[in-house]
Amino acid sequence: MGSPQDQSNSTSTAASAIAAAGEPPNRMLQFISFRVGDQQFATDIMAVREIKGWTDTTTLPNQQEYLLGVLNLRGTIVPIYDLRCRFGLGLTTASRSHVVIIVSVLDRMIGLLVDAVSDIITVSSSEIRPVPEMERATNTEYLRGLISVGDSMVVLLSLETLFSQSPQMDTSTLAA
């Protein structure tokens, strides 16, 4: 996969479309895309609160491996998750060049450690392709859809389901 910046030239045009009221069938949607390993992922731009460089976290005891700990975001304690580890690709060796995307999920602020933020993608809702049925062993719950950008594929994440599987979270309350 080439340089992410080259991938979409359809970017940032219909920026105003996102604000349009109502739900027309072909709504324009905007996503932030980011790179983890050699894969591109994206999440709803409206959920993103802030993007910041990596700083050391404080470890929370006895948690999932992909929970790297918490950090201080101007007085708020924010948990930071390692997306690479969450996808089962091993822990990220975080450095200053890594990026934390602060997102708001289910009224909580969480941070996602990614390798780099790539782009803003603007697509119409009809361009989001459903994830094909996979064999049962593959967990696809957190995949919301697939978007083609140029000749590459961006995986649209559903953050709500991505982190609802940690043992601390009561999944039943998040099902709604």
Binding site: T57, G69, I77, R108, M109, S166, Q168
Partner: protein, 732 residues
């Protein structure tokens, strides 16, 4: 006021404000009525109670709360009669006053939608008040909603007329309290013939005019058939916000307003000017600028000294924001300090300036924290009513003695105190205090006694709830605990351990589950509430003599006195209030138990050791207690545990941040804080540590070897390494 400008939101807000005020007024009234049974209420108190009832009535009228209006109206009439001596306070009156206060509070609650009341609620008291008023040789009192009195069109002094000279100089406060001289003038005009002179001599040039200040004064000549008291009453709500001098010219003896709360004031003439009357006098401010010749009496505001400790009402959310921001400021400031020190080579001027800044920041933080502090009185005040209600329901006689109501504690803590206290007092009356016959048989005073006290101990508040009842019936408690399977049938427990069972979940000891308590919510909930506040609760009981609960609760939920400790690369905060001491034990005093547990002999006592590094899986930490440190802490249940850490870093006050805002509860961690470095440090939940340790130990081996199994020489070899702040001796 342009009423059409108020939207539904405004109305809701006014309503909320009204109820907020009601709560304060009722609290104040209850405080004043508290000892009405034993004391004769003096004039000042009566006035204060009267004003409270009157304000509630006025507001209730505005919001159309009919039941509240009619009840407060009756009560107001009674108070009025008491005030001017037409009715003299006796036992019956005292009783009615107290009950009426309770009814009024209940009605306000109901109007707020907290609990429904039957339509005829309080009717018995209202009837009684009516009857008392009948005794006071006045019949029924007209409702305040009655049409305003016809405006008297008296053109000249008639027979039986009084003449008054009224000198009135409003202070700026009068306007700030949303009073309007024009309304007062109209009111006077309504009861007689009024001649008005306005003194505008104090009015400055336009460019020097402060629009919110008061410059005008008036001298009125009022000719009316009304007594002095009626005239005084017009100024009732403003008399502390103005210089007022009312002089009665006929009969000759001039009486001043304050001394002449005269004899035969009818209660009916007090009224609020209706909006329909727009026949205003010409004496609007700056209408004509002829200086009035009469010098205005420079009489200071009389009566209530209310303005001395003036207060404002502030939204709690704003204060929270202020507290948070200042908390951030403190952290940022200490980060800056750290960076300055690391850089080195900084000029002394900068360092000194920085030190000043640091001091100011801390002062600011203290000030902000002080804003949130309130006397526990606001919670304590609710208790006498509770005691009366429950005692009456259970047919017991109980006296509540309170002390330390002025002890201040954070507002959020106060709110959280109400439920536990209510519960404990309810329990004390229901389960503790015996019925009068039993008490007589036991040769105890017929009237049971409950003591509720508060005091400051360090950065905690200590609250006692003690009764002189039967004490904990340990046999019954133990039997029940065995029945419920909480303890094994052959358990041999110490008295204190049995008492602890009170806090076991789902426990109710009353032989009969009553309407009052014992509905499944027990002392376990109280303990949970108290623990949630970072506090502890303990119980002491002597059979036949009574029970005493002791609560130790931090003064504030926002900051914590903590001890920073190092474990490997991690930093944790231990709450200072739980720490007894820290020691470096001798290697010979550490014993491994079969099953993986570890104990230390500390001054002849075996204390279980918990390694933070083990339960939290911290790498590179010291694992031998004799190389690191053991911090001896006391749990809420009174037990001791030794927490093994690498080293102590230092004592510091930390701002408590919630982990749960963005994450879930983490076992063993009660919260987080931000260190001077900007890094997050976790605050240890001491109460949870033993269970965490248990879980890990049990995984390895389920052999419950007893601590007493190991014997070791008691020694004095422990080297105290800097004893920290003394633990609060929670229960003496």
């Amino acid at each position: 006021m342009n009423e059409t400008a108020f939207g539904a939101n405004d109305l809701d807000r006014f309503r909320a404000t009204f109820f907020e005020e009601c709560a304060e007024l009722i609290a104040d009234m209850e405080a004043r009525l508290a000892d009405v049974a034993t004391h004769t209420v003096d004039a000042e108190e009566l006035n204060a109670i009267f004003r409270a009832v009157h304000s509630i009535k006025a507001g209730a009228g505005a919001f159309g709360l009919k039941q509240l209006v009619s009840f407060s109206h009756g009560l107001e009439a009674l108070l009025d009669c008491l005030r001017d001596g037409r009715i003299v306070q006796d036992d019956r009156i005292s009783h009615v006053l107290v009950r009426a206060g309770d009814v009024l509070a209940a009605l306000v609650d109901a109007a707020q939608g907290r609990g429904a009341l039957p339509d005829n609620f309080g009717a018995d008291i209202a009837d009684e008040i009516e009857a008392l008023l009948g005794d006071g040789k006045r019949g029924s009192v007209p409702m305040p909603t009655a049409a305003p009195l016809p405006v008297l069109s008296v053109t000249g002094p008639a027979t039986g007329q009084h003449r008054y000279t009224i000198r009135f100089r409003p202070l700026a406060e009068l306007f700030r309290h949303a009073n309007e001289p024009l309304l007062l003038i109209r009111e006077m005009k309504r009861i007689g013939t009024l001649t008005t002179r306005c003194d505008a001599s104090a009015l400055p040039a336009l460019d020097a005019l402060e629009p919110e200040d008061a410059y005008l004064a008036w001298t009125f000549e009022l000719v009316t058939d009304q007594p002095l008291a009626t005239v005084t009453e017009i100024f009732e709500f403003v008399d502390s916000d103005c210089a007022l001098d009312i002089e009665q010219l006929e009969p000759a003896a001039a009486v001043t307003a304050s001394t002449a709360a005269a004899a035969e004031t009818p209660a009916a003439e007090r009224q609020i000017p209706g909006p329909g009357h727009l026949d205003a006098t010409n004496h609007q401010p700056n209408a004509h600028l002829t200086p009035a010749p009469t010098a205005v009496a420079k009489q200071p505001a009389t009566g209530r000294s209310g303005s001395a400790n003036a207060s404002i009402r502030v939204d709690l959310a704003r204060i929270d924001r202020l507290v948070n921001t200042v908390g951030e400021l403190v952290i940022t400031q200490s980060m800056l300090t750290q960076q300055l020190l690391e850089q080195g080579g900084i000029g002394t001027a900068i360092l000194r300036g920085h030190e000043d800044l640091s001091q100011l920041t801390r002062e600011l933080q203290e000030c902000v924290m002080a804003i949130r502090m309130q006397p526990v009185k606001s919670v304590f005040q609710r208790m006498p009513r509770l005691v009366r209600e429950i005692a009456a329901k259970l047919g017991k006689e109980v006296e509540l003695v309170m002390s330390g109501e002025q002890t201040e504690v954070d507002k959020t803590v106060i709110e959280e105190l109400a439920d536990p206290l209510t519960h404990m007092i309810r329990n004390a009356i229901d389960h503790g205090i015996e019925d009068p016959e039993t008490r007589r048989a036991e040769r105890k005073p017929k009237v049971g006694r409950i003591e509720l006290s508060a005091a400051h101990v360090g950065s905690n508040i200590l609250i006692h709830v003690a009764d002189d009842g039967a004490g904990i019936r340990r046999d019954r408690l133990l039997k029940k605990a065995i029945e419920k399977g909480i303890v094994p049938p052959n358990a041999d427990l110490l008295d204190s351990e049995i008492d602890e069972l009170l806090f076991a979940p789902g426990f109710s000891t009353a032989a009969v589950v009553t309407d009052v308590s014992g509905r499944g919510v027990g002392m376990d909930v109280v303990r949970r509430n108290v623990n949630a506040l970072g506090g502890r609760i303990q119980v002491q009981s002597t059979p036949g003599r009574g029970t005493r609960f002791t609560l130790v609760i931090p003064l504030t939920l926002a900051v914590l006195d903590g001890m920073a400790v190092a474990v490997g690369a991690e930093r944790y905060i231990l709450p200072l209030t739980s720490i007894i001491e820290s020691i470096r034990p001798d290697m010979r005093h550490i014993r491994e138990l079969t099953g993986g547990g570890q104990v230390a002999a500390i001054r002849g006592e075996y204390v279980r050791l918990i390694h933070l590094s083990k339960i939290f899986n911290v790498p590179d930490a010291i694992t031998e207690p004799w190389k690191g440190l053991v911090v001896l802490v006391e749990t809420a249940a009174g037990g001791k545990i030794g927490i093994v850490v690498d080293e102590l870093i230092g004592q510091q006050q930390v701002v408590i941040k919630s982990l749960r805002e963005n994450f879930d509860a983490v076992p063993g961690i009660s919260g987080a804080t931000i260190l001077g470095t900007g890094r997050v440090a976790l605050i240890i939940d001491i109460e949870q540590l033993p269970t965490l340790g248990d879980r890990r130990t049990r995984q390895r081996c389920d052999d419950g070897s007893s601590v007493a199994g190991t014997r070791d020489r008691p020694s004095s070899a422990e080297r105290p390494t800097g004893a920290v702040a003394p633990p609060l001796a929670a229960t003496g």
